[in-house]
Amino acid sequence: MKHSVNRPPTPDGVVDQGKEPTLQEIINIKLIESGEKERLMELLRERLIECGWKDEMKALCRAYIKKKGRNNVTVDDLVHLITPKGRASIPDSIKAELLQRIRSFLVSTAL
C-alpha cells in the first residue's frame, strides 16, 4: 500500500471558513464563464488601438527603454510606467461605451 493512503486528512475549513465569495467574485466568474469578459477585452483592445492609445503607450515605453538601456528594463518597470498615464488617458467615449456594456451585463444577469 502506498504511504500516501495513510496520510492525515486534508484540513478543510481553513480556506472556506467565513469567506463567502464576494459579489465581485461572483460577477467575475459569470463574466468569464459566459465569455463576455473575453469579448469586452477584445472590444476595449480594438478601441484603444483605433484611437492611438496603444501607440502612445508604446512610445512611452520606447522612450523609457532608450533612456535606461534595453537590458536594464523589466516588464514590471514598464507596467508601473504606463499604468497611471494609461488609466488617465483613456478617451471618455471609450470609457462610456465599455461601462455601458458592463452595466447591461450586470443587469442582465439579474442580480
Binding site: 467575475n28 476595449l44 496603444k54 508604446k58 516588464v75 494609461g86 461601462l99 452595466r103 443587469v107
Partner: protein, 172 residues
C-alpha cells in the same frame, strides 16, 4: 445603503479597471519583448550598427581595395591575387542591365521576383511563356520575335519561335 444603481456603477468601473490593467500588462510585455529581442530598429544602438555596416560595405566597394591591402591574401598557383569583390561587369540575361558580378545574386533576387517589390517586372520572355502555355491561338498583335533582329536569329538566319507571325510553328 447605496442604491443598486450606484453599486452597478462602482462595479462597472471596477471591471473596466480590471480589463484595462490586463491590456496595460499586455502592452508592457510586448514592448519589453521587442526591446529585449532587438526588434526595434529605432533604438540608438541599432543606428550605430547600421552606420558601421554601411561603412564596411563602402570599404568593400571601394576600388582601391581590390586585392592589395586585402586581409584575405589568397594567391593561386600562378601567383595571382583575387579582388575581394568580383568587379567584372556583364549583362544580365533576364533584364539586360549591366551588372557588377559581385552584385549579381542580389540583383537576380529582385530581377526574377524573389525579393520585396520585385514582382512587377514583366519582360518579353515571361509574357511569351504565358502565351505559349496558356493560350491555344497565337497572339496576332504582339509579335516579339518577328521584330527583333539580333538576339533571336540563329547563325544561318532562321528566326526562332515563329508561331506569332504567321500562325504556324516552325522548327528552327
Amino acid at each position: 445603503m447605496s442604491g443598486p444603481n450606484e453599486d452597478n456603477t462602482q462595479l462597472s468601473s471596477h471591471f473596466l479597471g480590471d480589463l484595462l490593467d490586463s491590456i496595460i500588462v499586455d502592452v508592457a510585455s510586448e514592448c519589453h519583448r521587442i526591446a529585449k529581442l532587438g526588434l526595434d530598429h529605432n533604438l540608438e544602438e541599432e543606428e550605430k550598427e547600421l552606420r558601421l555596416s554601411a561603412q564596411a560595405r563602402a570599404r568593400v566597394a571601394d576600388p582601391s581595395n581590390s586585392g592589395e591591402t586585402n586581409n584575405k591574401y589568397v594567391v593561386d598557383i600562378f601567383g595571382r591575387t583575387h579582388p575581394s569583390v568580383a568587379s567584372e561587369i556583364f549583362e544580365c540575361m533576364n533584364c539586360g542591365k549591366s551588372i557588377v558580378a559581385g552584385r549579381f545574386a542580389p540583383h537576380l533576387e529582385n530581377c526574377m521576383g524573389k525579393g520585396r517589390k520585385a514582382r512587377r517586372k514583366v519582360t518579353r520572355s515571361s509574357t511569351a511563356a504565358q502565351n505559349r502555355y496558356s493560350r491555344g491561338s497565337p497572339v496576332s498583335t504582339y509579335s516579339p520575335y518577328s521584330n527583333s533582329t539580333s538576339t533571336n536569329r540563329l547563325s544561318n538566319g532562321t528566326p526562332v519561335g515563329e508561331e506569332y507571325s504567321n500562325g504556324t510553328y516552325e522548327e528552327p
